[in-house]
């Protein structure tokens, strides 16, 4: 039954020019970045692998931002437009609703990944890293997006408000992203090192660095970064599970 929700969402999200414009802007951003990196006199002196690393971070960063915004409103819109009641009167369970919306958010990530493939191919030409780059962007991006969507859906079921969910979700994304951009000098103390080890965005960027700059392309070499990402997904799923339980207990009409 969730496929019905999924198709409905996709139709709404990718079937109008307004809802597709962000994808065109994302591709313009990738075009601008890759053109600048490959043609600018100063930037072109960068080692190609560093260039790929930078581009990979931009691709996953854009995907996380777009999916965060989308996931923050995709569930809440049913509560705000008061369509949730009629939805649950039909043979659609909360599980179907969440699964349908999850797949819709993942479809946005898939769309970003598909448009990033030509850029990955052209920037990694001659480096023998095209497949590894593509594979790791797909794997790390999917793990990051799934965990983040679970977390945001959990918040959505608690808040039932797009405005509050989007504010909280963007602050969480910023809290994850800002330390990941710190230089290694700022990560010398135990607190920042511990946070870096559990921060999903740090792990995504470090794994890309491991693959593209240090040429450690096997899954075994990246296990130290993949494991925290999997743990993040599991913890976010548990949070969503508990939020869904609370939501079921409270009912659709919440008495504040």
């Amino acid at each position: 039954m969730f496929t019905h929700i999924w198709k409905k969402e996709i139709r709404g999200e990718l079937y109008t020019w307004k809802s597709m414009l962000w994808l065109v802007i994302a591709s313009l951003l990738f075009s601008f970045t890759s053109y600048l990196l490959l043609t600018n006199q100063e930037l072109s002196l960068l080692d190609q692998t560093e260039l790929l690393w930078l581009l990979g971070k931009i691709m996953i960063g854009v995907a996380l931002l777009i999916v965060t915004i989308d996931a923050s409103s995709i569930l809440n819109v049913e509560f705000e437009k008061e369509t949730a009641e009629s939805l649950f009167l039909s043979p659609i369970s909360l599980r179907d609703l969440i699964l349908g919306k999850l797949f819709a958010s993942l479809t946005l990530w898939a769309a970003i990944f598909v448009i990033s493939i030509p850029y990955i191919v052209v920037t990694s030409a001659g480096s023998h890293l095209a497949w590894a780059f593509m594979g790791y962007v797909a794997l790390l991006g999917t793990l990051g997006v799934v965990g983040l969507v679970f977390l945001i859906f959990g918040i959505s079921l608690l808040y039932r408000s797009s405005k509050n969910t989007i504010t909280t979700a963007l602050i969480i994304l910023l809290a994850f992203a800002t330390p990941a951009l710190f230089t290694s000098t700022l990560k010398n103390d135990i607190v920042s090192q511990t946070f870096s080890a559990i921060n999903p965005i740090d792990n995504i960027f470090n794994s890309l660095d491991n693959v593209l700059v240090d040429y450690k392309t096997s899954l075994l070499d990246n296990w130290q970064f993949l494991l925290p990402l999997i743990v993040f997904c599991v913890v976010a799923f548990l949070f969503l599970f508990l939020s869904a339980k609370r939501f079921t207990k409270q009912g659709i009409i919440k008495n504040d």
């Binding site: 079937y15 994808l23 075009s31 490959l38 072109s44 002196l45 190609q48 692998t49």
Partner: protein
């Protein structure tokens, strides 16, 4: 009775012997570091080279807590270089080297930035204040220019154009359906 001249002589001997002891403690460990790879390595930024060498305990006793590490200097800027990205293994803890024992040392170096650099291997051992250093290996790294507008331009322009075409196609189809 000891005469004052004898006293002065004894004091002089004492000072010399103290100096010898102090000097022996401050000396570098009896290690020899030889480099077999060329003393001058050239390449383009992004290339990998291997600096091959060996470390040998030339003393008569085993040496404990032996650690080797690299030091890289930018000759143009006259500054040491952070080895981040240049070498995955910045230091190597060897532990104990028996008397007369020889161990190979291979360092894979990634040329990150164009310029001329000087690399030395350094070895330290427990109980010695001074390190032992190898001879200098010169790196001549030429810049890598990734200028390929012919490859990137069709993709940079083509992808957004294809997407804009898809957007208009969807809008047209939707209008027809309505």
């Amino acid at each position: 009775m000891i005469k004052s001249t004898e006293k002065t002589f004894l004091l002089f001997l004492l000072l010399i012997s103290v100096g010898f002891v102090a000097h022996a403690y401050a000396a570098a460990p009896p290690l020899t570091m030889q480099i077999f790879s060329s003393s001058s390595l050239s390449g383009t930024a992004g290339d990998f080279v291997t600096v091959q060498g060996q470390i040998m305990n030339t003393g008569s006793k085993p040496l404990g807590d032996v650690t080797t590490y690299l030091s890289l200097m930018d000759n143009q800027n006259k500054l040491p270089v952070d080895l981040e990205d240049w070498s995955a293994e910045k230091g190597l803890y060897i532990g104990t080297i028996d008397a007369g024992q020889t161990l190979p040392l291979n360092w894979k170096i990634h040329f990150v930035k164009a310029g001329t650099y000087s690399l030395i291997m350094i070895a330290e051992a427990a109980g010695y204040d001074s390190p032992q250093v190898s001879s200098i290996t010169q790196f001549n790294v030429s810049p890598k220019r990734n200028l390929n507008p012919k490859q990137v331009l069709p993709v940079a322009l083509g992808t957004p154009i294809v997407l804009i075409f898809i957007v208009f196609l969807l809008a047209y189809r939707r209008r027809v359906e309505e």
